[in-house]
Symmetry: C2
Subunit: 199 residues, 2 copies
């Protein structure tokens, strides 16, 4: 029985290796290639450690780190949906719910329930921890786009208005960092990395 439990856990650990093959639109800071969802998740989990002091007081940092590490796992079955792809985002929730069932279902039931609850809390965005985690998930691509002279924004002709809508949750998730993000986006517009015209 115990061995069966371990077998399920190991099977899950092997399965999630596939997240290293899910490519996001974001470029690495040297523009050499796109980033995958596993290394992205690693990056924002470290951001939660480094930027913890800017989290709202009720934030549970361990829970935020766990959430960030697992929040993209559903992409193994559902794929990554580009945040500015309106059509793709219509069917995203349904595909990801199916994916969560399939993926977390590999685990023993108590752990399936733990990871599902972490993922659902992130998706529902109703706790300070989920808000903080989501803010980091949105800050990181802005840093990458700034480092790559517009990166994904330029490739896909994304406008300042679209970016502002996308980053809006940062204000609630980590209010202390909001002025910095606003300034960063203004700097990107001034440098010509981001266009002001709305598509």
């Amino acid at each position: 029985m115990q061995m069966n439990r371990l077998t399920q856990q190991i099977q899950f650990i092997i399965e999630i290796d596939k997240l290293k093959q899910i490519w996001r639109q974001t470029l690495l800071t040297d523009s050499s290639r796109q980033e995958n969802s596993a290394e992205h998740s690693w990056h924002i989990a470290i951001m939660a450690i480094i930027l913890a002091e800017y989290a709202p007081p009720e934030t549970d940092i361990l829970r935020a780190i766990k959430m960030l590490l697992i929040h993209d796992l559903v992409e193994i079955h559902a794929g990554d949906t580009f945040c500015y792809d309106l059509q793709g985002n219509l069917s995203k929730a349904e595909k990801e719910t199916e994916a969560a069932k399939k993926l977390f279902g590999l685990l023993p039931v108590d752990q399936e329930s733990e990871l599902r609850s972490l993922w659902e809390e992130f998706e529902l965005q109703q706790t300070p921890t989920a808000h903080f985690a989501a803010a980091l998930d949105r800050i990181q691509p802005v840093l990458h786009n700034q480092q790559t002279q517009g990166g994904t924004w330029r490739i896909h002709n994304i406008s300042r208005d679209q970016v502002m809508r996308r980053v809006a949750p940062i204000e609630a998730g980590t209010p202390k960092l909001w002025p910095f993000i606003q300034q960063l986006i203004d700097d990107c517009v001034a440098a010509g990395y981001l266009q002001t015209l709305t598509k």
Copy 2:
């Protein structure tokens, strides 16, 4: 002053993106390419969550996760040293100490000290948390080599004796998983994925 602190933190966050370009010998489970150190760190941090129940009682899981997320950062300056490269491992400690100074030195002093202490605890291997973290760091490549029919072991003609020396710390770090690892290695030998002759 506060803005200066944030600037240092953001500079560190941008700098560590480079870990996504540090390639390890380990292959992904589908053998399609080598794994980088950022996605490897992500994988073993999730392993700490899933396999937490097998950690010795004194293990601090949050600290183990932090340790696993940052333990390879020094490779940004020092590169990844293949664990079976005896020559390369002679100068590894010195190079990594220099790298830690340079990299963690980007952070505000309190955080430089926090990350340095996490990294040193991992390197020194004198606490249950460090033992548990190191065990996971050694279990993951065994799983990958088993999934890739010998993977790195075959490419570099690694023998069972070499692997047994490499995985020995797993016994102390997570004694409950040691029988599983021994069995896994025996299975790999039986399947012809790992040779028994000593080089």
